[in-house]
């Protein structure tokens, strides 16, 4: 990470990230939130900002595989990190991830604004707990706010995503 003068005369820092498998670089002031860096500097606007105080979970990304609130991190503090955003969940060939497919099948979203945060959170949750029971599924999404769905179909989607993952693994040449 190196420091330079930015457009407004403020000091900027070069931040190197791996985002959705690609090496990315951004020159940002020290105070730039990671959420703003992803959205406005790297133009990955799939990560949404719902409260900017870490409560709603819409901005959740995977940082070195762990779900974190990108609105509570400074971009400079993520230097060198491996980040997955909602844009990186599908396979390179466009195949939806099990969690994405489950959301579509179960009507797990309405306005879609909170959805990226749920998708990343559940992706990490299912990696840790591949076959959750109802209580584990509810815990998995217990820190994310949705104002549209009443969570009923999101919970159904957690179970369906686990099922899709198993189905895909069972296919000949299936993914692990």
């Amino acid at each position: 990470m190196s420091a330079n003068q930015g457009a407004n005369g403020a000091e900027v820092h070069e931040v190197r990230l791996t985002v959705n498998g690609a090496a990315r670089t951004a020159n940002v002031p020290a105070r730039r939130l990671l959420s703003d860096c992803l959205r406005h500097d790297l133009r990955l606007t799939g990560t949404h900002v719902g409260c900017e105080h870490g409560v709603c979970g819409a901005c959740t990304i995977l940082l070195n595989g762990a779900p974190v609130r990108s609105c509570l991190l400074l971009a400079v503090s993520a230097d060198g990190a491996d980040i997955t955003t909602v844009e990186g969940l599908a396979d390179p060939d466009g195949t939806l991830s099990p969690v994405q497919q489950a959301f579509a099948e179960c009507h797990g979203l309405q306005c879609g604004f909170c959805t990226p945060g749920f998708l990343t959170t559940i992706t990490a949750g299912l990696a840790a707990t591949p076959n959750p029971d109802d209580e584990q599924a509810r815990d998995m999404i217990g820190g994310n706010l949705c104002r549209c769905t009443g969570y009923q179909n999101i919970l159904a989607a957690v179970h369906r995503a686990a099922e899709i993952t198993r189905e895909r693994a069972a296919e000949p040449g299936g993914r692990s």
């Binding site: 457009a7 002031p29 990560t47 409260c51 900017e52 306005c111 879609g112 104002r147």
Partner: protein, 796 residues
């Protein structure tokens, strides 16, 4: 007959949204200048000075505007959108405060800078001097009127409104039994996950404004912005991008930012964007729900209401840009499925120094339902009657439809219910929840030291209010069908639901239909999305437009095939002689033939060119009364609203120690007529129920006596997470068609939220044996209520 109407089709919207490819307001306009606002820290104050000198050296600052910079009609107060004869003292804010601020969060100055960080830096350095004034907070203070919100509004009274049918005073005086109740509901808010936002670009060469805004009415914003900025309507395009939830708050327009941002974009010759943050949403958007009610009801031995008098006080906040729609809805929809022979309702709409109050999902109905259902439960308790039985005895019967209440509804039209079968709904709900078996379960629980209770609440919802919506359907030469309707969408699945209607009407595959909403470039006549009206209004409009397009397609195809139009059908996008698939020509080819061409643009188009032959040379290529193309444009304008209905039952357990309320079962019977897409209808009900539970048990806007909103964050304002909503919402449907529209449908968007406070109050009351007269009910509220009741009992 149809294959898609009624099908649980997967949403066509979702693929983009789950890949992170949605385009919400703040996802647009990368590189645009950013606006931030200086907002009042006082609930009531006079502005004595605005000193911007400290902000001028902030790197990236572009401009600072305050009231004195505003010109022309922008310097006037924002419009009062819905005037009413009883709204005698309507007051609306200026886009930027002139000399006085009337709530914490009111905008005073707008800063434009190269990015939001710089804009907020500068906003922080603007020094506003205030002379604080006493704040009026809460209905009690507003009624007392020791202090005034607006100097020229005596008694803080914006409106006093009365409606009556029958002689209520006489009916109550003659009744064998009379009850009086005081009932209260507190403030909550729509709280979409995405706040408001607006992006504007002024094209100097074309003299044209393009505006993207997170709104529930793009045509409303367009008209207001054109008027405020002195532009012709044709110079303004308003596009609604993906919207991250609305729930009512985004029907208000124009918000100050919606006129200031385009104004600045034009002055500066650069795109400007405003994205509201969460704190701003709490203190500068809108709230709803706060009302205090006094009920007097006369009834007979069987619990039949004979006369009902409701006097209530509505806290409208600092301004009334949306008029008095919320209390009007309460005053009319309070009646629910019941028919008191005499009814009088009077309300005062009162100013306070708090955030303005405009419709939030349910829009006055949750309060009305709470008042009516608490009243019925109180009658049942007084008479020692089953609560369901008392409801049944007061129901409007199916053979009494259409039922005229003798009142005027929120659309200015008579309150006449079009259809509904409330006794059937109640039977279904009693079966679903096991109403008659519950007393045994309650006794068994009590034997284990557990407190459980059951509640029931019914509502009727006027949906699909006018004046109209329209739609345009065009079949392209590819066979693809493009549909546009002017109202907007905020996640309700309109693209899917409307495509289902069109695909069925036209006989084309769903994948060939694409629906656009909320873009004034595509359809410029519209009202907006509110009052559960999209399916009824735009659903009907797209059906009528598709029928016109179909009629045209059959006529053109009949000419080409030399048969009568009546002998043709359209199946899977192919026009064919009925029952003869061999005879078919594709709808795309019909579109080619419908448009006589001089110039071929591809091989298919050759068939329509002037030397292709097969035309009758004695007739003009386009007949006098005809048009080229396979298109239909239609408007739907119903004579009145259509009335959906439903009832909820809930079983709760209350913790004897902590007073925590746990929902054990939540059952819904709902009647919105025929369902276009049951999956989407159920999703709407789920979301509504969650908001109803939130409003009943968790959410409240906590103002202190100085008018500070002390819980203006998601850390302190308790919106339900998955852990707070019912584990399962059990739903049964009843389908009573409406006679008022071509599809027989009724709205569903708001339904789920309406009986939340009423049904949970009833269940908690049943579990605790304590009258519940005020909602929301937090564990500490219930704990204190228990203590108050015990000390009262002790004194006796």
């Amino acid at each position: 007959m149809s294959s898609l109407f009624g099908a649980r089709v997967q949403r066509v919207e979702d693929d983009r949204l789950i890949r992170g490819h949605g385009a919400y307001l703040d996802d647009l306009g990368n590189g645009a200048l950013a606006a931030a606002f200086v907002r009042s820290p006082y609930a009531h104050a006079r502005i004595t000075d605005i000193d911007v000198s400290g902000a001028l050296d902030v790197p990236g600052l572009v401009a600072i505007y305050s009231y004195e910079d505003l010109t022309g009609r922008l310097a006037e107060p924002l419009p009062l959108l819905i005037p009413h004869p009883t709204l005698t003292h309507g007051r609306t804010p200026y886009p930027l405060a002139q000399t006085e601020v009337n709530h914490v969060g009111e905008a005073i100055a707008m800063v434009v800078a190269t990015d939001r960080y710089a804009a907020e830096d500068a906003a922080d350095l603007i020094d506003v001097s205030y002379e604080p004034l006493p704040a009026v907070v809460g209905i009690e203070a507003a009624r007392a009127a020791d202090q005034l919100v607006h100097d020229d509004v005596p008694g803080n009274l914006a409106a006093n409104s009365t409606q009556e049918h029958g002689d209520t005073a006489a009916a109550i005086a003659a009744a064998p039994h009379v009850l009086e109740l005081d009932l209260e509901i507190e403030r909550s808010a729509s709280t979409p996950l995405e706040g408001r936002g607006v992006l504007a670009e002024w094209d100097e060469k074309a003299a044209r404004l393009r505006l993207w805004t997170s709104t529930q009415t793009s045509t409303g914003v367009r008209a207001a912005v054109a008027a405020k900025l002195g532009l012709d309507l044709s110079q303004v395009d308003v596009i609604t991008p993906d919207v991250g939830g609305g729930f009512g708050v985004k029907i208000v327009h124009p918000w100050p930012e919606e006129v200031l941002v385009p104004w600045a974009a034009r002055l500066l010759g650069q795109p400007v964007k405003f994205t509201e943050d969460r704190r701003e949403h709490f203190i500068s958007s809108a709230h709803e729900r706060a009302q205090v009610h006094h009920v007097t009801v006369g009834y007979d031995d069987d619990g039949r209401m004979l006369g009902l008098d409701v006097r209530f006080w509505h806290d409208n906040g600092a301004y009334v840009p949306y008029g008095i729609i919320v209390p009007i809805v309460t005053s009319t929809q309070l009646l629910g499925p019941y028919k008191p022979p005499a009814y009088r309702v009077e309300f005062d709409s009162l100013y306070t120094n708090t955030v303005l109050v405009t419709p939030y999902r349910g829009a006055g109905r949750p309060h009305g339902c709470f008042v009516m259902e608490r009243t019925i439960d109180a009658i049942a308790a007084e008479r020692g009657l089953d609560r369901a039985l008392v409801r049944e005895r007061n129901f409007i019967q199916p053979d009494e439809m259409p039922y005229d209440h003798g009142l005027i509804f929120q659309d200015g039209r008579p309150l006449i219910y079009d259809s509904g079968d409330y006794p059937a709904g109640l039977r279904k709900l009693k079966d679903l929840v096991g109403w008659d078996e519950f007393p045994a379960a309650k006794a068994a629980a009590a034997a284990e030291g557990r407190r459980i209770g059951i509640g029931l609440a019914c509502y009727v919802e006027g949906t699909g209010v006018g004046p109209y919506e329209g739609a345009h359907v065009v079949v392209e030469t590819s066979g693809k069908v493009k549909v546009a309707t002017g109202l907007t969408t905020q996640g309700q699945g309109h693209q899917t639901m409307l495509a289902q209607v069109v695909a069925d009407e036209l006989g084309v595959p769903l994948r060939d239909v694409e629906v656009v909403t909320g873009d004034t470039r595509r359809f410029s006549y519209a009202v907006g999305t509110f009052a559960s009206r999209t399916a009824v209004m735009s659903g009907s409009a797209v059906a009528l437009a598709a029928r016109k397009a179909k009629e045209k397609a059959l006529r053109v195809a009949a000419d080409a095939l030399e048969v009568a139009p009546a002998d043709l059908e359209i199946t899977d996008g192919v026009v064919q002689v009925k029952g003869d698939p061999e005879s078919g020509i594709s709808l795309g080819t019909v579109a080619v033939l419908s448009n006589p061409l001089r110039y071929a643009f591809d091989e298919a188009a050759t068939a329509a060119t002037q030397f292709a032959g097969g035309t009758d040379m004695s007739r003009p290529p386009i007949a006098d009364d005809d048009e080229p193309g396979i298109e239909g444009r239609a408007y739907f304008s119903p004579v009145r609203s259509t009335f959906a209905s439903g009832m909820h039952a809930v079983i709760v357990e209350t913790d004897p120690q902590t007073a925590e309320v746990t929902i054990l079962r939540y059952c819904v019977v709902h009647d919105c007529g025929p369902l276009i897409n049951p999956r989407i209808v159920e999703g709407q009900i789920h979301g509504g129920v969650a908001q109803g539970v939130g409003g009943a048990l968790y959410e409240r806007m906590a103002y202190d006596e100085t008018g500070q909103l002390v819980n203006a964050s998601f850390m302190d304002f308790l919106m339900p997470y998955a852990s707070e909503v019912p584990k399962q919402i059990e739903i049964d449907h009843l389908e009573t068609p409406s006679p008022l529209n071509p599809l027989g449908i009724k709205g569903v968007g708001e339904a789920g939220v309406i009986p939340g406070a009423a049904v949970l109050a009833a269940a908690i009351e049943d579990a605790e044996g304590i009258p519940i007269r005020s909602m929301p009910m937090s564990p500490s509220d219930l704990f204190e209520l228990r203590a108050a009741c015990e000390s009262q009992a002790g004194r006796r």
